[in-house]
Amino acid sequence: MDLIIEGIVQAFKLLLQGDPEVLRVTGLSLAVSLVATGISLFIGISLGTAIGLTRFWGRRFLVSLVNTGMGAPPVVVGLIVSVMLWRSGPLGVLRLMYTPYAMIIAQCIISLPIITGFTMASIQQFDPKLRLQITALGASRVQMLALLLRETRLPLLAAVMAGFGSVISEVGASMMVGGNIQGQTRVLTTAIVLENSKGNFGLAIALGIILMLLVYIVNLVLTIAQQRSKAR
């Protein structure tokens, strides 16, 4: 019990004192995960909309791939990205291994199927009669897409939450492709693992609380946005 209380006290101390290392780790966590979620959103919404709206040969296979990807273990993603970015790997020439960019790539691969899957499902669930009415009103393809995304904004915000949640909390891939290098690729999750292995439970708990607060604040903002648009 003392351990937990000590952890909580330490967390507030670190936050209030503005410990530079903690701030750097928190900042990098947030930056990597937000960029990865942003990229996944752009690709995932486009891809999910395309799969949701069109019928083509191999569609079912693609859908099953997306669904499988939604449950892909981060360590497997980390392994694949490591192999690709390894010095002797196919993309080794880019020299991205053990950089935040490698972590962004890995996190993109983790969140992309989640955002694609959510988008696909919400587009497919959209009332086909309403789609027909939009077409009948004289919508061009672009106007139709814009309206579809507007009308499905609630599930799409849920996709953003799920996508961000999956990457901010993952540790396996970040550890494998980032290397947990202090000052360079150390993020909250990898720092927690490190401090835990060193027996610094107090610091580990403190970082855990910061991570939870971060996740809560981002989700709170998204939830407020979601509920506002629901009321509209």
């Binding site: 077409t135 009948a136 106007q143």
Partner: protein, 368 residues
């Protein structure tokens, strides 16, 4: 020079076949909607009414044939989009989107690139015309069924369409809402004279709104004509049955003279006005409201009606202020009389009556 046969034709379907789910739904060699007319499409469930409407409104692409608007074929995606922006389509459901009522009515105008200043008076005018101006700021998805339908009508008319297509628009509404909406809609049609194509299965709607009626059966147009023509002189037994034109009796012409034929129906001889040779198999259509029920004993000459069938009342069925009286005269004959008459005559099951029908009231359809 040949006269232009397409002049005054707003929409035309030429040789269209529409296939959905591998099944041929409609197969229509030729179909025309005239400028400014209100054309009602009627037919039983699954006959292809909606598919025909959707094909004409360019929302379903026919597998074969072409759709023309003012004699111009609409084929390319660009032409289809441009034509869709000249028409309005209303479905059974109101299908409003999230946002305010105002946003919904503005939507089609925005898609057509109409500037806000030009769109505003149009939206105001049609919201007011359909009695929903006070709801402009309300969230569209919180409206009642009747309010939502009025908004969807305002949205359709705000587009100032050349043709308006409606697919059973008043079906899902309760009776008073439907009646008041129908009155407003009828008024708007009279004012705007917009070309209208409407699918309905309501006889009264078709009669109230239609200049012409097209009857569709199993994907084919089987009769077109004025409401009077279709309801009074249906071309086939199926149409007569569907439009509930009256009692349908099967018989054979036995003979006749001076335009009056004697038709045998079972053991009874019925006189009807027609000039068909003896031996012809015919269908007699006896309108419900052209039958008079008499309490006078048979044989007495108290009516000019050529046909007097003695029988017994077997069923009384009240429908509003009227009563459907079914009499067994050797064949079943249903008459529509006022409830008041039925009460005054003391009609009840088992009472002996005479059903009288004028020969001129009976329509004769030749069986092929």
């Amino acid at each position: 020079m040949k006269p232009d046969s397409t002049a005054g034709i707003a929409v035309e379907a030429r040789g269209i076949t529409t296939i959905l789910g591998g099944q041929k739904i409609i197969d229509i060699p030729s179909f025309q909607v005239r400028d400014g007319e209100a054309l009602m499409i009627i037919g039983p469930n699954g006959s292809g009414k909606t598919t025909l409407l959707m094909s004409l409104a360019l929302l379903i692409k026919p597998a074969a044939g072409e759709i023309l608007y003012h004699a111009v074929p609409v084929q390319t995606p660009k032409q289809i989009l441009a034509t869709r922006r000249r028409i309005s389509v209303l479905f059974q459901e109101s299908l409003l989107l999230s946002g305010t009522v105002w946003d919904n009515v503005m939507l089609g105008l925005r898609m057509r690139g109409v500037k806000k200043e030009a769109a505003k008076p149009r939206v105001e005018k049609w919201l007011k015309r359909f009695g929903v101006a006070n709801l402009a700021k309300r969230q569209a998805l919180t409206l009642s069924g009747g309010e939502a339908k009025r908004v969807s009508l305002a949205r359709a008319f705000a587009l100032d369409p050349e043709v308006i297509f409606l697919d059973e628009p008043f079906t899902a509404l309760d009776s008073p809402t439907r009646r008041s909406l129908l009155e407003d809609f009828e008024g708007v049609l009279r004012e705007t004279k917009v070309t209208t194509v409407m699918v309905t299965h309501e006889r009264n709607e078709a009669l109230a709104l239609g200049d012409r009626i097209a009857v569709i059966f199993e994907g084919s147009i089987v009769q077109t004509g004025t409401p009077e023509e279709v309801f009074s002189t249906p071309a086939t037994e199926e149409i007569a049955n569907f439009v509930e034109a009256g009692n349908i009796l099967h018989g054979v012409v036995e003979g006749g003279s001076e335009g009056l034929a004697t038709v045998r129906v079972g053991q009874t001889e019925i006189e009807a006005c027609c000039e068909l040779p003896a031996g012809n198999r015919v269908i007699l259509l006896v309108p419900y409201d052209d039958i008079t029920i008499l309490l006078t004993p048979p044989g007495e000459k108290t009516t000019s009606a050529r046909n007097r069938f003695p029988g017994q009342v077997v069923r009384l069925f009240p429908t509003g202020s009227q009563m459907r009286v079914t009499v067994n005269c050797g064949f079943m004959l249903t008459a529509l009389i006022t409830r008041k008459s039925a009460e005054e005559m003391g009609l009840k099951e088992g009472v002996s009556v005479v059903a009288a029908v004028k020969a001129v009231s009976i329509r004769v359809i030749e069986r092929h």
